[in-house]
Symmetry: C2
Subunit: 321 residues, 2 copies
C-alpha cells in the first residue's frame, strides 16, 4: 500500500474544492478555471502542504484551504504561461488559450489568483498570507527573468538556478512552510520542512528540464525540445555547452535562433546532450538537491508522514527515467 | 486654496512609494511598473483612502500603504487591460504593451498585483486583506463579463451596471472602506464611506463612458469612440438605442461589426447620441449616483475632510463638460 494513500481522502476533497471555489456569477470565469484545473496536474504542492501540516499533528480543514490556494496560484501561473508561451497544448490537452482568447486567459488567471488570496484570508494568519504573496511576487519575477534570457546562449548556471528557484522552488517551499505553520511546528522544524520543499523544487525543475529533452511525446503530452525551441537554455544544454566544440556550439546557436526543431535536429540535440554529459550532469545535480532535501528531514523522528515525504522525493528522481 | 491641498504631502509620498515599492532583482519588473505607474493616473483611489482614514482621525503611515496597494491593483488591471485591448496608447503615451511584449506585460501585472498583496500583509488586518482580495476577484469578473458582451447589441442596462460596478465601483468602495477601517470608524460610518465610494465609482465610470464619445483626442489622449470600436456598448449608446429607428440601429450595428470608426462615422455617432438623448440620460444617471454618494456623507459632521470628499464628487461631475 502506498504511504500516500493515507491522504487520499484529502486529495479527493482537494479536487472538488479546486473547482467549487471558482464558482462565479460570470460563467466563463468558472469554465476557464475548470479547464485549467483539470489539465492533469500532479498536485505535488497540495501533497506537500497536507503532509507538512500532519507532521505537526494537524489534520483539520485549514490544510485543505491552503492547499487549494497554493495549487490555484500554481495553476494561474500556468494559465498566464500558456499565454506567454503561446502554447497549443498543456499535458496533451488543448491549452486554455486555444479555447478562449489570450485576453480571457489573462483575466481568468487574474480571477484564480485573486480567489486564492481571498481564500487565504479565511485562515486568519497574516504570516501565511505574507509568505504566499511574497512567493507569488517571485514567481512572476522568475518568469520575467526567464523571458529576459530568451535566446541568451551565455546564460550562466547561477542565472538558471535563480530562475528555477523563483519559478518552482519557492512555491514548494511555501507549500511546506505553510503546512508546518498550520501544524504548529517550532521554527527549527518549520525551517527544515521549508528547506525540504525548496530543495525538492529545484530538483523537480531540473528533472523537468531533462524530461523536456529525453521523454516521448506520448508520455509527456508535448513535443520534446520545446524549451530549446522557445529559446530557453536549461541546465542540460548549459552543461553540455561547457564541453561543446565550436561546430556544436554553432549548431545549437542556429537552432535557438531558428526556434524550430525538426526530427533530425532533435535526434542530434539528444545525442549531443548525452555525449557532452548534459543529461548526466543535470541528473547528478538533481540528485544532490534531493539528498539535501531529504537531509532536512533528519530533525524529525520516523513517522508515516516523514516516509511519505521521502517517497515524494524518490518519485521526483524516478520520473526522469 | 484647494481643500485637497491638505493631503498634498501624502500624495507626494504616494508617488515616491508607488515606484520604490516595485524595486526588484529583475530590472524589467521595475521598468514596466514605473512606466505604467507614471501613465498619468488621477490617483482618485488613494485620495479616497487617505481622506477616509482622516475622517476617523487617522493620519499615520498605514493609509499610505493601503493607498499604494489599491492604486497598484488598479494599475495592474490597466496593464492587463492594455494587453486585452491591444491598446497602443494610454492617456496619450505609448501603452506598456507597445514597449514590452504582451507576455511581459502580463507578468509585469502579476508582479504588481502580488506586490500589492504583500504590502497589505504589513497592515496586520485580515479584514482589509479580505476586502481587497474579494474586490480584485470582482475586477477580473467584471472584465470577463465585459469581454463576453463584446459586440452584444442587446446588452441590458442592468448588465452594463454590473460591469461598471465590478470594474470600477467596488475598488473605490474598497478604497473608502479600507480607509474607514484604518480610521477606526464605527460600522455605520464605515458603511457610509463605502457607500460614498461605491456610488462615486458608478458615476465616475458613467462620465468616463460619456467622455469616450464627446471629448477631444487632445484632452483625452486617445481616440474618441474607442468603446464602440472595441464592441463595448456603454450607457450612452444603450440609452440612445432605446429611441433609435431601424436605420439608426442598423448603422450602429454595422459600425460595431466593422470595429472601425472613420471621422464621418464618429461625427454621425456623436450626433445620434445627442439627438436620441444618450449623452443627457447618461449624465443624468451619473448625477443621481453622485447625489446618492454625497447623501451617504450626511452621517458625518462638517469637516475639512468631508468637504474634500464632496469636492471629489463635484470634480467627477465637472470632468464631463
Amino acid at each position: 500500500m502506498d504511504i500516500l494513500d493515507s491522504i487520499q481522502s484529502d486529495m479527493e476533497k482537494l479536487e472538488q474544492e479546486l473547482i467549487s471555489q471558482l464558482q462565479s456569477r460570470v460563467p466563463v470565469a468558472l469554465e476557464i478555471g475548470v479547464h485549467v484545473m483539470n489539465s492533469g496536474g500532479k498536485r505535488i504542492r497540495p501533497q506537500l502542504t497536507i503532509i507538512s501540516a500532519r507532521m505537526g499533528g494537524y489534520h483539520g480543514p485549514k490544510a485543505l484551504v491552503l492547499s487549494v490556494a497554493i495549487e490555484s496560484i500554481h495553476t494561474a501561473t500556468l494559465l498566464h504561461d500558456d499565454v506567454v508561451d503561446q502554447a497549443e497544448t498543456r499535458r496533451g490537452r488543448p491549452s486554455a488559450n486555444t479555447m478562449w482568447s489570450n485576453e480571457m486567459c489573462v483575466l481568468g488567471g487574474d480571477y484564480i489568483l485573486a480567489k486564492a488570496f481571498s481564500a487565504l484570508t479565511s485562515l486568519n494568519d497574516i504570516r501565511i498570507l505574507r509568505i504566499v504573496s511574497e512567493t507569488t511576487e517571485r514567481l512572476s519575477e522568475g518568469e520575467l527573468f526567464q523571458m529576459m534570457n530568451i535566446g541568451n546562449m551565455n546564460i550562466r548556471e547561477d542565472e538558471y538556478l535563480q530562475i528555477i528557484i523563483d519559478k518552482t522552488a519557492v512555491l514548494m517551499e511555501a507549500a511546506c512552510r505553510g503546512g508546518a505553520i498550520l501544524g504548529g511546528l517550532d521554527r527549527r522544524k518549520e525551517d527544515a520542512l521549508a528547506g525540504f520543499g525548496f530543495n525538492l523544487g529545484i530538483a523537480f525543475q531540473m528533472t523537468d528540464d531533462v524530461i523536456d529533452y529525453v521523454s516521448d511525446k506520448a508520455v509527456m503530452g508535448k513535443d520534446p525540445g520545446k524549451d530549446l525551441e522557445e529559446g530557453k537554455l536549461t541546465l542540460p544544454l548549459i552543461c553540455a555547452l561547457k564541453r561543446a566544440d565550436t561546430a556544436e556550439r554553432a549548431r545549437i546557436e542556429g537552432l535557438v535562433r531558428d526556434g524550430k526543431l525538426g526530427d533530425s535536429d532533435l535526434a542530434w540535440v539528444r545525442d549531443f546532450l548525452r555525449r557532452r554529459g548534459g543529461i548526466d550532469e543535470t541528473l547528478e545535480r538533481s540528485r544532490e538537491y534531493l539528498r539535501t532535501a531529504v537531509d532536512h528531514l533528519a530533525v524529525f523522528p520516523d513517522s508515516e508522514e516523514k516516509h511519505a515525504l521521502m517517497r515524494l522525493a524518490e518519485r521526483v528522481l524516478h520520473r526522469t527515467y
